[in-house]
């Protein structure tokens, strides 16, 4: 064998290996996911839903809380025109929201002029407080919407500026108190999605850190931590949660919590997140444990990759796959749990709306005498469709990340 030929062979092999393009795990997974129509449709729907939920205050919807017991109870889906603030009981100027807003703003402006013309500091202070209180309580928005945050407040103002008194007709019908169901489904989506996502994130943070620590250190620490998880698995959490929610709902406890700025929905996130981390921690620990002994980690170490690099280039991407798949499973179960608690009267409390609460209202309105189907079908459909989409997306991501398991579909 002469050296010239050897070199040629070597060079040829080098050229060949250069021509083989590595495709990153994520690129590859994304390519596979894109070919899965069910997953892609689900993804599109979910993104759309999220955008709509975020933009809800901007949309020309009717008021989600304004009741009309006289004329609008259990209206079936219809195309009848509705004017914002048009209900006589509201006693809005001109019978419109904009009219009332003008009147109210004029009043406030009057007060502001008064404020400017007074010089006595004490009186000024009293007047300023009076204005603030009036805006706080008497602003027409407060009759149309419930406890808007600053961003939502701004969005509602933009909405009035854009659409004036126009509101989408009651396409989904109205409920037993004459409230527009379409608006309620949209506003409910915000709460349901936030509960779902935030609670899942809480469980993610607890679960991943717990599992990763146990898996990374191994040995005694791992054994002890996993024992605790085993133990927690045997506790009927639902009952503990119900117990806790009622406990936290106790008036005196509530007051104390309110004083430090924690409301019921926040408790919700934390409590639910605290239940769902168990499985997550097990899954993550299993992954970390098996990856630790995996050969490619070994080989990364032998070529001199730093521990940070190993963790971020090798461990994180591999664990992330499992975590993402698990997330798409946890969000639906959290949303179902929210519905479950709402049904038991322990969840989100009115005037906040969530899909669970809407469904509960709907189920109560079900009767044989008159079938008000829309009060169940629309909120139920929204919830089911979201859970469907999450399920299909989760399956799609799982298949995309793990082609070996493709046959699992």
């Amino acid at each position: 064998m002469n050296t010239e030929a050897n070199r040629e062979t070597l060079e040829r092999i080098l050229v060949e290996s250069r021509n083989i393009h590595g495709v990153s795990l994520w690129q590859d997974a994304w390519n596979r996911l894109r070919r899965n129509p069910a997953a892609m449709i689900s993804l599109t729907c979910l993104v759309l839903l999220a955008v709509l939920a975020i933009l809800t205050p901007l949309l020309p919807l009717q008021s989600p809380i304004d009741k009309d017991l006289n004329e609008r109870r259990f209206l079936p889906p219809n195309l009848g025109t509705v004017v914002m603030g048009g209900r006589p009981g509201l006693k809005f100027a001109d019978g419109t929201l904009t009219g009332e807003l003008d009147r109210f703003n004029a009043e406030i402006a009057d007060l502001a002029i008064q404020l400017q013309s007074t010089s006595d500091p004490q009186q000024r202070q009293a007047l300023a407080a009076g204005i603030a209180a009036r805006i706080d309580i008497e602003h027409p928005f407060n009759q149309m919407w419930n406890e808007l945050g600053p961003v939502s407040w701004w969005m509602c103002q933009t909405r009035v500026a854009l659409f004036g008194n126009y509101a989408i007709p009651s396409l989904f019908g109205t409920d037993k108190l004459g409230r527009d169901l379409l608006a309620r489904v949209f506003w409910g989506a915000r709460v349901s999605l936030i509960v779902g996502i935030v609670a899942t994130l809480v469980s993610l943070i607890i679960g991943v850190s717990w599992g990763a620590i146990a898996g990374y250190f191994g040995g005694m620490i791992d054994a002890a931590m996993m024992r605790i998880v085993d133990m927690l698995y045997s506790i009927p959490f639902i009952f503990v949660v119900i117990f806790l929610v009622t406990f936290l709902g106790e008036d005196s406890v509530k007051k104390k919590l309110d004083s430090i700025g924690i409301d019921q929905i926040t408790i919700f996130y934390m409590v639910i997140g605290a239940i769902y981390w168990l499985t997550m921690s097990r899954v993550v620990r299993g992954q970390v444990l098996s990856l630790r002994s995996e050969q490619f980690i070994e080989s990364a170490r032998t070529v001199g990759a730093s521990p940070m690099r190993i963790v971020f280039r090798h461990l994180v991407p591999n664990v992330l796959g499992v975590v993402i798949v698990y997330l798409t499973l946890t969000i639906p179960s959290v949303m179902l749990f929210e519905a479950f608690l709402s049904f038991l009267g322990l969840g989100v409390s009115p005037p906040d709306v969530s899909w669970g609460l809407l469904l509960n209202d709907g189920v109560e309105a079900l009767s044989i005498i008159k079938v008000f189907w829309w009060v169940v079908v629309f909120p139920g459909g929204a919830l089911a469709a979201t859970l469907f989409a999450l399920n299909f997306l989760g399956d799609g991501i799982r298949d995309a990340l793990d082609p070996r398991m493709k046959n699992r579909d």
């Binding site: 064998m1 050897n6 062979t9 040829r12 092999i13 060949e16 070919r35």
Partner: protein, 329 residues
Amino acid sequence: MKDSQPLLQVNDLQVSFKTDESQVRAVRGVSFDVHPGETVGLVGESGSGKSVTNLAMMGLVPKPPGRIDGGRVMYDGKDLLTLNERQMQSIRGRRIAMIFQDPMTALNPLMTVGQQLTEMTRLHLGLNKREANRKAAEMLELVGLSGAEKRLRDYPHQFSGGMRQRVMIAMALSCEPDLLIADEPTTALDVTIQAQILDLLRDLQQRRGTSIIMITHDLGVVAEVCQRVLVMYAGRVVEQADVQSLFAAPKHPYTLGLLNSLPRFDQSSHTLEAIPGQPPDLGNLPAGCSFRPRCPWAVDACANEDPRLVTMDQDRQVACLVAQETANV
């Protein structure tokens, strides 16, 4: 031996798989015979279609995505490819048995070895439970597992790799089949265990006269146990010869490459020579000879014509234009 009636005749077998992107032609017209008492080696790189050929013969190619596109597998006067599922079941295990590469996964981990051994004899030979148990113990003794009676109650995970492969062999031979297909039976085992298993197979074959198709990528195994060799490349047989002449004078450049990539002890300064390039993508084969991109002998004609397997001297077949040319001159 060659004069006897062949036990099995494979004729122009073609198998393909459907993938997301394309139709992969895994086996492209494979033909060969197996005679009674003979051991035939089937050699090639992974993906060359050797395992698929045998699975197709047994009707075990998963369909879909797999599909038999043509050919015949004659056994006992019948074309196995045309038999229905029931008829095929009476052939599998009873007349043609298989052993697989990885004894770790080829046995059912949830059943005792005894259950797995007796399952077959009870089905095919109609033995009752006690007879089947006795037979199973006998078979375990035969493959060299001591304390067989007790071991029947053990689960596969209680055996070592080599012992499991022995169990697999015992299972495969328990209905005294005419033909044993051994799909890389030693690849997953330690070298010392490999030798034991090969010895066992050779010994059993001599005693029972079972024919064996030995699928392997290891030419050492071929040299040890086979009488005849088929070299496969990209779903085709590219060379067929008896073992001595193949090793002495390989005719196909691919065979030559395989032999050159083996370490040899008789030449101290010998450099190992890898075959350059990658095995071709079966979904997207080059025009002409599929080995051409890697072939040191390639000439212009190779790009146009896909060479057929042509008989040369003494029952020897080669599918290479250059080799055929040289022989004719």
